[in-house]
């Protein structure tokens, strides 16, 4: 027999998760130490935890991973979705079933728990994440406070106070926390095996992207359409954007309540829509466009967070499997005349896309850039640039490229 083993004494929990209904869950602390309060949601994707953990749309949230083994392939520098590395990604914490293992993948550079620490994300493992998910399904997304303390000592009173101080995501403008501070250009394109990421070349179009918390892969997909990309802060004015002389406008994803962010963004988006330029929005960008067009948004019960969501393209009848991550949605019943629902979720019938009749303006609720998730909806980037091409009188590209 090998070296003497540890005995059976119970070790103290080194992390806790306290929900707003008083539920207190104990587990093993991981990553950063300290505490954070936020909204507790779940994500059902089985791959791509690193992309999820760096998606700025999760700002203010604690993510429960339903898949029990997270961290198997470690962390690397390539799979990060946050653009602005200076800002924190926005994810506050993560809740896991199994403890994090050593990584096993040729691209792995770091063990996930070390990486979490470096990203200032608090983790808790050893939780029945399925029971937590079922609780969210039954009662909605709770607010919670997550804390990691290696000595196993927790001041529950202080934690509860911290939780009480968290206002909840409704009415919260989080985009301002994760958007870029200044305008910049983006030229990196999509990932290919053995080549990594590419560089845009031969750019024919100029797209201005409003950054509400954009994921890198959205920018890569846009750049991959032979586009020169200028990324502007969330609070950019329409006049300044139009002064850049763009061929199209992109409204990015992002965290928080669209109504809150919309207070300053919607008037600008209205002007951009009126400019007659092609406009494409994703996720928060979709919700903001909806608001700008006169529709309303609402908070969802449990939200959509996963990589297996079926969406029907009502214009073609095709079903695509998509990556989703949103806790607010555009209320279909409030879509004004002249705005058509183009996509809907086959899970619950909620709105997943819209377009403005007679205009080159459309948006989707889900994430065609994937990362993580299926690539089924990549065609939307071509659809967008085709609107630009049409305005310029250029021949259109097929939305689906034949392989080979």
């Amino acid at each position: 027999m090998s070296a003497p083993t540890q005995g059976w004494h119970e070790t103290a929990a080194t992390a806790v998760l306290i929900l707003d209904d008083g539920t207190r869950l104990e587990g093993i602390g991981l990553g950063a130490t300290g505490s954070a309060a936020g909204e507790v949601c779940f994500n059902t994707a089985m791959t791509g935890y690193q992309e999820i953990l760096t998606d700025p749309s999760y700002a203010g949230q604690i993510i429960t991973f339903t898949f029990p083994h997270i961290g198997n392939v470690g962390a690397n520098a390539e799979d990060i979705e946050t653009v602005n590395m200076a800002a924190s990604s926005g994810v506050l914490g993560c809740v896991l079933k199994a403890d994090i293992t050593n990584p096993s993948n040729y691209r792995a550079a770091q063990k996930l728990s070390d990486w979490l620490k470096s990203r200032n994300i608090i983790g808790i493992a050893g939780i029945d994440t399925r029971a937590l998910t079922a609780r969210i399904r039954e009662h909605g997304m709770p607010n919670g406070v997550i804390a990691h303390s290696p000595d196993g000592k927790f001041d529950d009173k202080a934690l509860t106070a911290q939780l009480g101080a968290f206002p909840g995501l409704e009415g919260l403008d989080l985009a301002e926390q994760v958007t870029t501070a200044q305008t910049y250009h983006w030229s990196e394109t999509g990932w290919n095996w053995d080549k990594g990421y590419g560089e845009a070349s031969d750019t024919h179009f100029h797209i201005v992207a409003m950054d509400f918390g954009a994921k890198r892969n959205i920018l890569r997909n846009l750049a991959g359409q032979n586009a020169k990309l200028t990324v502007v802060p969330a609070a950019a004015k329409a006049e300044d954007i139009l002064a850049l002389n763009p061929d199209g406008i992109f409204l990015s994803n992002g965290p928080g309540d669209p109504a809150a962010t919309g207070e300053y963004a919607v008037p600008e988006i209205k002007k951009l829509v009126d400019s007659g330029l092609p406009v494409f929005g994703i996720c928060l960008g979709h919700q903001l466009l909806g608001l700008a067009l006169g529709a309303r948004t609402k908070k969802m019960h449990q939200g959509h967070h996963g990589a297996n969501h079926p969406v029907k393209d009502l214009t073609t009848g095709k079903v695509e499997i998509t990556s989703m991550n949103h806790g607010f949605a555009v209320d279909t019943d409030t879509l004004p005349k002249g705005v058509t629902e183009t996509h809907k979720s086959l899970f619950d019938g909620s709105n997943a896309g819209l377009s403005v009749d007679g205009k080159s303006v459309f948006s989707v609720q889900y994430h065609p850039e994937a990362s993580p998730g299926p690539h089924d909806a990549h065609y939307l980037f071509t659809r967008f640039i085709n609107l630009v091409r049409a305005q310029k009188g250029l021949p259109l590209e097929p939305e689906f490229k034949k392989a080979g």
């Binding site: 027999m1 090998s2 003497p4 083993t5 005995g7 059976w8 119970e10 539920t23 207190r24 869950l25 779940f42 059902t44 994707a45 089985m46 791959t47 791509g48 992309e51 339903t66 898949f67 029990p68 198997n72 392939v73 690397n76 390539e78 799979d79 079933k97 199994a98 293992t101 050593n102 096993s104 993948n105 040729y106 691209r107 939780i127 029945d128 399925r130 029971a131 937590l132 998910t133 079922a134 399904r137 095996w193 053995d194 996963g306 990589a307 297996n308 969501h309 079926p310 029907k312 095709k318 079903v319 499997i321 086959l346 899970f347 994937a370 998730g373 299926p374 690539h375 392989a403 080979g404």
Partner: protein
């Protein structure tokens, strides 16, 4: 798109008999397809020659043809039935190949039959290696370098281009038959030769080795609107080099980043589109280089497969049912995801929040001389699947689900270990580098020995992630060994959540499983049950498809989703992984119990761990626990089910030996056993008690004895005299059963056969005490001795009994003489050669025993009749292997009736009458010998068949011919017959048979003695050399295709081994061969009838039409 209205009738082709590579997963898929399409209002015409299937139950299709699945026969069915469409994707390779032949023959065109699901071009493109490779390159996907070869010169050219090691894959063969990996030139040429032989198109692909790469499978479903979904990803723990059917696999893939996973997803969908699989399920296999992530496509199956059955069970997404509906025109978004009760559509990708592990089960112990190294040709006979919240839990549950005596990662000896430091390291490395059924245990053993994970990985190439997880189990074992069991609930729960069974913890801590259980329950540590819902709890699931896990408390107690109902319920224990002797027949019975008791108003609860079966379909029973069939796991389920409603009882007599072994534990837990009491079952197994009973009833049995130790065994054998049939008790399928005719043979039996039964841990603990090892087996399974009745006819009888009345369902006459295991014998129902008085006497004896044993349900008796005397060989007061065959032939659902009797109804209520049937059913066994090079094909008392076929007709000889055709034998209409029989068989019987062949124009060749004997009796025969007499000899003739039928009986060990080459070459050349005189005579009858008459096809329903 709604369903097609241009077709009204659909033909579905099944997979035929269970063989290695094609097991009951195709009953599962075919049954789902039949049900789904019948519900849609189509007329279903089903062809399947396997009587043990649920799909051939007469109410599942409108016309059920239990006829051989050969293109000629199926063409006749098409001509008769004129189906509008043919669905060829539900019956494995058999159905696909048959459909392709029908198209080539012009049958489909002639009768205007449309192929649905996959068309011929798509099948060709997927199955033809060259077309497939070209298709992959066209869409920018890589495949391993490869070249086709049709003969030896081409193969040598391929060798130069590709180098060694090389993988050889014959085209159009099942489960990789005839393929392999060659490391040197000699081996290469050997495998090439075998592969060219095995391929129906004499074609092999020689492929670049990607040995050691990671292997993955993607299960894809596509509809005709081009919507594609991935149902499940599967990762093989065994890296490339082991057939995926023989690999330990997990779902979902655990070592891929999203980028790699999506690359594979995109590639899978591109493959389906390019191959042109318009609708339905397919699987695509990939290899990934762990060093740099390079992805190559290995192959795809344009049909549902073993993997899709696994994926369906692993996720709760019913691939076959959905695929069948897609084939008639629906799109995925038009179909419901059943498991969520229709809350969500089928157009999504299941996501799971647990880990599934599948481990294959092998039967090498049945085939002495077979090479147990695993290669690209599949060799396993079954599989167990287990579900756990984490990989360690899932793995350890899977190991104990196998029922091979493992309770976890049990200790095992490594050959050559213990010879000093340097040698030890090499011995371990060698064991790790050789894929065998025990490799995973060797890995654990290497960890115990102290080899570091990196070195282990280098030797076996198993991904380090899995190795680290296994190491955590091994480390925890050390902790239990050192500190005993934990005394707090938290630590106990932590241990149990790693999948440790009570038995394993007991062994590690020096306690019994019962001690551990008591300590555990005292701490309040019990499993909870979680549901399989396709959505990781995102949607509530009304479907009670569950697995156990040990969870951390959630806001109080651990969260349990079992919610047992308040109904009156019955638990049915299934049969676990398929093995030789315990297969689909038992699953058929379990399913029937669920159907019948549901009809009778009970809530039915199934427990099983075999992913290939219909019983583990979540809609077969009301509640399904996908759990190992061990005492611990079953009792915990019963405890949970007892919490609400009334647990009426447990059915243990349908799943074979597995549930019977659990009967006393169930009784001890205070839950009634339904039907025949375990004490009666034990009585029938107990030599002394049973002998007393027969004595009381005045029934005869062959002289017999029993021994509880090696010393006693020698005495008993001497006392009874030879020849003797010997078997250990409580072992199903005649495992380790043998006929020994001398003292020397008896000693050999002890040294080899019995020694193989010694559990690995006993062998490891007492390596030098051979006698002690054998005594440990005999103590647990006393040795039974029966006098062997030379030349006797064997009879199988199945009956129903409720303790008051008896109904004899079927009397089956074996065609081979007594001594061949009943599972391996062909038999006829009704019997052919028994007179009315004998039949009446068999019925009387059967009834007497059933009543005396107070049977509730089914009972099977085996008799031998020697010179008019009836001997009772064996009584099994439980469902037997012949139950489905009998039910199909007599047209009465006897397993269903038995279930209702068990639940308390009276036999008399079913108004069963013995109606004279005018047709004859012949059951023939099917063997896996072709999978095991070098193994003799001669039959004996140990069961070796994997499956069975039926031949059904109004004419005995035609029924026999059909049974042979159905089993894959080419029944010759002309050509040359080779005959070589032992002296005892040189009788008028054989002369008469050969004369009829000769008269029919067959040329006769024979070995010296037999040739003279034939000449003396006026039959012209040409002499041919035995192998030892020099070339050209009989084996050359067989290999050259000059022989169409072999009749060869032998005597004694020497002659047996002399004639072995003849049997093997006949097997490999697919020449029918018969090793018994009765078998040969039946074959001759069949050949003559098949030659003369045209074979008629009839649906099962026609035989019973008033």
């Amino acid at each position: 798109m709604p369903k097609r209205t241009d077709i009204q009738s659909i033909m579905i082709i099944g997979a035929g008999p269970i063989v290695i590579g094609q097991a009951c997963e195709f009953d599962y898929s075919g049954t789902q397809a039949c049900k789904a399409l019948k519900e849609e209002g189509y007329r279903i015409i089903l062809v399947n020659s396997n009587p043990a299937t649920i799909m051939t139950d007469p109410d599942l299709a409108d016309a059920t043809y239990m006829e051989p699945i050969t293109p000629e026969i199926v063409a006749k069915i098409i001509e008769k039935e004129r189906p509008d469409a043919l669905l060829p994707t539900m019956g494995g390779q058999t159905a696909l190949n048959c459909a392709l032949s029908l198209r080539k023959m012009g049958v489909l065109e002639q009768f205007g039959v449309k192929m649905i699901g996959a068309d011929a071009e798509a099948i060709d493109k997927a199955e033809d290696r060259e077309l497939f490779r070209a298709a992959m390159h066209k869409i920018g996907l890589e495949t391993p370098k490869s070249m086709l070869a049709h003969d030896i010169p081409e193969a040598l050219a391929a060798l130069d281009a590709i180098g060694l090691p090389a993988i050889i894959r014959p085209s159009f063969t099942l489960g990789g038959t005839g393929g392999g990996i060659a490391y040197n030139r000699e081996e290469y040429l050997d495998i090439i030769e075998g592969g060219l032989d095995a391929s129906p198109t004499t074609e092999v692909l020689v492929e670049e080795s990607v040995l050691g790469w990671k292997e993955f499978e993607m299960e894809v479903v596509r509809d005709r609107a081009d919507n594609c979904i991935i149902v499940c990803s599967i990762e093989n723990i065994d890296p490339m080099g082991v057939h995926t059917g023989d690999s330990i696999t997990v779902a979902p893939a655990l070592t891929l980043t999203d980028k790699e996973y999506q690359m594979m997803r995109d590639a899978s969908i591109a493959v389906l589109r390019e191959i042109g699989v318009e609708t339905g399920g397919s699987n695509v296999q990939f290899a990934v280089n762990p060093a740099d992530g390079r992805l190559v496509v290995i192959e795809m199956n344009p049909r549902v497969s073993r993997s899709s059955a696994l994926a369906s069970k692993a996720t709760g997404f019913p691939i076959a049912k959905v695929a069948a509906r897609l084939a008639v025109g629906y799109t995925l978004d038009e179909l419901e995801n059943d498991i969520t009760g229709g809350a969500t559509p089928a157009s999504f990708e299941p996501t799971i929040d647990y880990v599934v592990t599948k481990i294959p089960r092998f039967a090498f112990e049945k085939f002495p001389g077979a090479d147990n190294r695993l290669t690209t040709a599949m060799k396993s006979v079954g599989e167990a699947m287990a579900i756990g919240r984490t990989f360690p839990e899932s793995l350890q549950k899977a190991l104990r689900s196998l029922e091979t005596g493992l309770t976890g990662l049990n200790e095992i000896g490594i050959p050559g270990l213990g010879e000093g430091e340097g040698d030890d390291r090499n011995a371990i490395r060698a064991a790790l580098g050789t894929p065998t059924p025990n490799r995973l245990l060797h890995v654990a053993e290497a960890m115990r020995w102290g080899m570091d994970l990196d070195e282990i990985h280098q030797a076996c190439k198993i991904d380090p992630w899995f190795l680290e997880q296994m190491k955590s189990i091994v480390d925890m074992e050390d902790r239990v060994r050192e500190h005993g069991l934990p005394e707090t609930a938290g630590q106990m729960r932590m241990l149990k959540s790693m999948g440790f069974s009570d038995s394993r913890l007991g062994a590690l801590s020096g306690k019994t499983a019962g001690d551990v259980r008591r300590a555990r329950t005292a701490l309040g540590v019990r499993p909870v049950y979680k549901r399989i819902d396709t959505s990781a709890a995102e949607f509530a699931s009304p479907t009670a498809y569950m697995y156990s896990t040990y969870e951390a408390p959630f806001a109080g107690a651990p969260a349990d989703e079992a919610s047992p109902s308040d109904r009156k319920k019955v638990v049915i224990l299934g049969g676990g992984p398929n093995r030789i002797g315990q297969g689909i027949e038992f699953d058929y019975c379990c399913c029937h119990a669920a159907f019948a008791l549901s009809d009778a108003g009970y809530e039915t609860i199934m427990v099983n761990c075999n992913p290939e079966t219909v019983s583990t379909d979540y809609d077969t029973s009301d509640r399904l626990y996908f759990e190992p069939l061990t005492e611990e796991d079953v009792i915990e389920i019963l405890e949970t089910e007892k919490q609400n409603g009334t647990l009426h009882g447990v059915i243990v007599q349908f799943g074979g030996q597995t549930p019977l072994g659990l009967a006393s534990a169930v009784e001890k837990a205070g839950v009634p056993i339904l039907g025949t009491l375990p004490s009666s079952i034990d009585l029938a197994e107990d030599r002394d008690q049973f002998q007393k009973l027969l004595h009381k009833l005045d029934l005869r049995q062959p002289r017999n004895g029993i021994a509880h130790s090696l010393e006693q065994a020698r005495l008993v054998a001497e006392d009874l005299g030879f020849p003797l049939v010997i078997r250990p008790s409580y072992v199903l399928g005649g495992r380790a059963m043998a006929i020994v005719s001398s003292k020397e043979e008896f000693e050999t039996y002890i040294q080899s056969t019995l020694t193989e039964l010694v559990p690995p841990e006993i062998r490891a603990r007492y390596p030098n005490d051979k006698t002690g090892q054998i005594n440990s087996v005999i103590a647990k399974n006393p040795l039974l001795f029966d006098g062997y009745l030379t030349g006797a006819t064997e009879i199988d009888v199945d009956c129903l009994c409720d303790g008051k009345g008896v109904f004899v369902c079927g009397i089956m006459e074996h065609i081979e003489e007594a001594g061949v295991h009943s599972g391996d014998s062909a038999c006829s129902l009704p019997p052919r050669n028994l007179d009315a008085a004998t039949i009446a006497e068999l019925k009387r004896q059967t009834a007497e025993m059933a009543l005396a044993l107070n049977v509730g349900g089914l009972m099977n008796v085996q008799y031998a009749i020697q010179n008019g005397d009836i001997f009772v060989l064996e009584v099994n007061p439980r469902a037997s292997r012949t139950v489905p065959f009998v039910a199909k032939v007599i047209g009465t659902p006897i397993a269903k009736i038995a279930s209702r009797i068990m639940a308390g109804e009276k036999l008399a209520d079913f108004n069963l009458t013995e109606s004279e049937i005018k047709h004859i059913g012949i059951k023939e066994a099917v063997f896996p010998f072709a999978r095991f090079p070098g193994v003799d094909t001669v039959l004996g008392p140990e069961m070796k068949s994997t499956g069975e076929v039926i031949g059904l007709d109004f004419d005995y000889a035609i029924a026999f011919a059909k049974s042979q055709l159905g089993g894959g034998t080419k029944v010759p209409k002309e050509g040359t017959v080779f005959i070589s029989v032992r002296d005892a068989d040189k009788t008028d019987t054989i002369i008469d048979a050969i004369r009829r062949l000769s008269d029919a124009g067959f040329k006769v060749i024979a070995t010296g003695g037999t040739q003279r004997y034939l000449q003396e009796n006026g039959i012209a025969a040409t002499k041919i050399n035995k192998v030892l007499e020099g070339r050209p000899h009989i084996v050359d003739a067989v290999k050259n295709g000059d022989v169409q039928l072999v009749i060869n009986t032998t005597d004694g060990r020497k002659a047996l081994s002399d004639s072995r080459d003849i049997r093997r070459s006949a097997l490999l050349s697919k020449v029918p061969y018969y090793t018994t005189i009765p078998g040969a005579v039946a074959a001759v009858d069949g050949i003559i009838a098949y030659r003369e008459g045209s074979v008629q096809v009839r649906a099962l329903q026609e035989y019973f039409a008033a």
